[in-house]
C-alpha cells in the first residue's frame, strides 16, 4: 500500500513478533452487494465512486494494510443463504479484531438483519467480545428524515434481538455511511481508533497542542487513505472533518506543481511540507507534515500569519511526540 519501504519492513518485523491473536484487524462483512468492496476501493485504492458501479462479486478474501499495521479484510459475501460457515473465521478473529458489518439501506433490511444475526452467533461463539460496527450504507439516496427513521428502526430491531439472545448491547455501534460523500472516511477512521495503539495518548497530545497554540481543532491524518488517526477531545463537527479531507486533496494536487523539483541530491522526496491557508472571516488552516504519510491539520479561528513561527515550533514538538507514541521510525529526518 505504502511506498515507504523502510518503514514497512520495520513494521513487519515488529508485527511478526506479535502473536496472530492480538494483531489489530478489521473484517468487512455483510450481504452480497452491500458495498464492502466499494468502500475499501474508494478508501485504499482511491478509486472513483462511479467505478464501483460495475463491480463483480468478490470471490477471494482481499487484504489491505493501514496505519499502525492494522489489517483490513474484505470477506466475500457469498449469498444470503450461505453465510460465513465455510470461511475459517478462527484465522481472523482475535482479541484485537473488530467487525464492520455493512447493511445496504436501499435493499431488503429484513434479509440483511438475518444475515447479521447468524454472523453474530458464529462470531460470538468464537470470540464473545468482538465489536460490531454497523454501517448503515448507501444513505446517499435518502432524505435526512428517512435516514434518521431507518437508523432508529434498525437500531431498535438489532438491540431487541441482542437482548433476546443475551448479547451485550454495548458491543455494537452504528454509522450512517455512503461512498458518495465523506461520511465513509469518518466512519472508517472511528473504527480504526478502536485499534490504533495508544490512541488516548495521541488525543491528549493533540488536545494540549490545541490549548497551547489556540487551535480550534487538530487532526492527525493519514494522507494516503484520508483517514484520521486521532483528533483532540474538543467537540467534533462532521462538516469540518469533510473540509479537512478536501484540504488533504488540495495539498496532494498542489504538490504536483513543484514535485518535478522535489528530489534532493540523494534522490529522496522532501517531506517537510508546511502550509497555511487563509480563509475569509479570519479563519485559517495550518498543515504540518509529520512524516511521509502523516499530516497534522489544524483549524484556527484567527489570522495565523503573525505567530506562524511559534505555531510551527509547537507543531514540530508535537510531531516528535506523536512519532514517539506511534513508534513509526522517523523517515523524514534523513533529508
Amino acid at each position: 500500500m505504502y511506498q515507504d519501504q523502510p518503514e514497512e519492513q520495520l513494521q513487519e518485523e515488529n508485527y511478526h513478533s506479535i502473536d496472530n491473536d492480538t494483531k489489530p484487524k478489521i473484517l468487512l462483512m455483510g450481504p452480497p452487494r452491500s458495498g464492502k468492496s466499494s468502500i475499501l476501493m474508494v478508501i485504499f485504492e482511491k478509486r472513483d465512486q462511479l467505478e464501483t458501479v460495475y463491480l463483480q462479486p468478490t470471490t477471494d478474501i482481499v487484504e489491505y494494510t493501514m496505519y499502525g499495521g492494522i489489517e483490513v479484510y474484505d470477506l466475500p459475501g457469498i449469498s444470503y443463504e450461505h453465510d460465513y460457515q465455510f470461511i475459517d473465521l478462527n484465522l481472523f478473529l482475535g482479541e484485537n479484531t473488530v467487525i464492520v458489518f455493512v447493511i445496504d439501506t436501499q435493499d431488503d433490511i429484513q434479509k440483511s438483519l438475518h444475515y447479521l444475526y447468524s454472523s453474530m452467533d458464529l462470531i460470538f461463539s468464537i470470540q464473545p467480545n468482538t465489536q460490531f460496527n454497523i454501517f448503515l450504507h448507501k444513505i446517499d439516496g435518502l432524505s435526512e428524515e428517512l435516514r434518521q427513521d431507518i437508523n432508529q428502526e434498525i437500531q431498535h430491531r438489532i438491540f431487541s434481538h441482542m437482548d433476546y439472545e443475551g448479547y451485550d448491547n454495548s458491543l455494537v455501534q452504528f454509522y450512517l455511511t455512503s461512498i458518495y460523500n465523506k461520511s465513509i472516511y469518518e466512519a472508517m477512521s472511528r473504527v480504526s481508533h478502536k485499534l490504533v495503539p495508544n490512541v488516548s495518548t495521541l488525543e491528549n497530545i493533540l488536545t494540549s497542542f490545541c490549548y497551547k497554540s489556540n487551535l480550534d481543532k487538530a487532526y492527525l491524518f493519514d494522507m494516503d487513505s484520508k483517514l484520521f488517526i486521532a483528533t483532540d477531545s474538543f467537540p467534533f463537527a462532521s462538516q469540518y472533518h469533510q473540509f479537512c479531507c478536501s484540504t488533504i486533496g488540495l495539498m496532494e494536487d498542489l504538490t504536483t506543481m513543484y514535485s518535478e523539483y522535489q528530489l534532493n541530491q540523494s534522490g529522496e522526496v522532501f517531506s517537510h511540507q508546511v502550509a497555511t491557508i487563509h480563509l475569509d472571516a479570519n479563519y485559517s488552516i495550518f498543515t504540518f507534515q509529520v512524516n511521509k504519510r502523516l499530516m497534522l491539520i489544524c483549524m484556527v479561528r484567527d489570522n495565523i500569519s503573525k505567530n506562524l513561527s511559534l505555531l510551527e515550533f509547537n507543531a514540530k514538538k508535537v510531531s516528535l511526540s506523536l512519532k514517539k507514541v506511534l513508534n513509526f521510525p522517523d523517515s523524514s529526518t534523513k533529508d
Binding site: 473540509f243 478536501s246 498542489l254 506543481m257 518535478e260 491557508i277 507534515q289
Partner: protein, 308 residues
Amino acid sequence: MKKKLLLMGQSGAGKTSMRAIIFSNYGAAETRRLGATMEIEHSSIPFIGDLHLNIWDCGGQRRFMNNYITDQKEHLFKDAEVLIYVFDVETRDQAAEFKYYEDCVKLLSQFSPTAKVFCLIHKIDLIKQDSRKTSSVPNVLANYKKTLGPLSQHFTPVFYTTSIWSYTLYQAWSDIAYKLIPNITMIENQLKQFRQLCGASRVVMFEKSTFLVVSHTQEHGKPNPEDDVFVRISETVKTYRQACSKIRAPLVAINIRNGPFSMFLEPFTETTYVLVVMNDPDVEAAVVKLNISSARIHFVNLADIQHT
C-alpha cells in the same frame, strides 16, 4: 469591450453544463440537475480588463436549431467573435450533428468571416478504452478532425477533447479565453519580467472568478514538467473553493513550503489571482509577498483598468 461567443451543439451535448461549471461554480455532479435550454440563454461575464464575455448558450433541440439557421440567422451569427461547437461523443445521430455544424459554419462565414471556431469533442470520459485501442481518445479526435475539416469553410477550427469530469474542460476554456484578451502580449511580457525580478521558477496568473489561466511563465532549463500541470490547478482550486463555501469561509490565499520550495497563491488585482513558485531555500515568505504587492500596483493597470 464585449465579445460575442456562440455556444452551439445538439441538445444534451453538455453546453449548459460547461457554462455552469466554468462560470457559475457548479460541481460536475450538480450538472445532472440542469434542464434543456429553451431558445437562447444570454450571459455577460466580466473577464479581465474591460473584456466582457457575452455568451449565447443556444438550446440545441431540433426546433430551435432550425430557427437559428433560418429566421434568426442574421441576429445570431452577426458580430460573433467565437463559435464554440460542442460534439457529444455519444450522440445518436452523428450525421445530423455534422449537417448542423456545416450549416452554422456557413452562416458564420457569411456574417462573421473573421470569427474563430473551436470544436469541443465532449464527454470523453465515456470513451471506453478497449484492448485494441480502436476507440482511444486520440483516435476519436482524429476521426472528428477528418470529417469536420472539409465542412469548415475557410475557418481552421481548433479542436479540444473535453469532459466535465476532468481538468480538460479548463484547458479548453483557458485557451479560448486567452485568445480573446486584447492586451495579452503586454500582460505576458510583464509577467515574465515579474518572474525574473522575484527569482521565481514559475508564475501563473488566473482570472479570479473562473480560475481560468490567463498567462503563465516559467524558468527555462528546468526539468520539463507536464505542460498541463498548471491547468490542473484551476480545477483543484475551484473544487477546494466549493469545500470552503460549505463551511462558509471563502478561500483567500494559500502558502506551501517544502524543503527549498515554496508556493504562494495570492489575490492579485481586482480580477486576478497569482501563483508564484520559488525554488530557493533562503527566500523569506515576507519578501515574496512584498514582491507580489509591488507588482500588484503595476498589474492593476493591465488587468483591471478600463481601456477603451
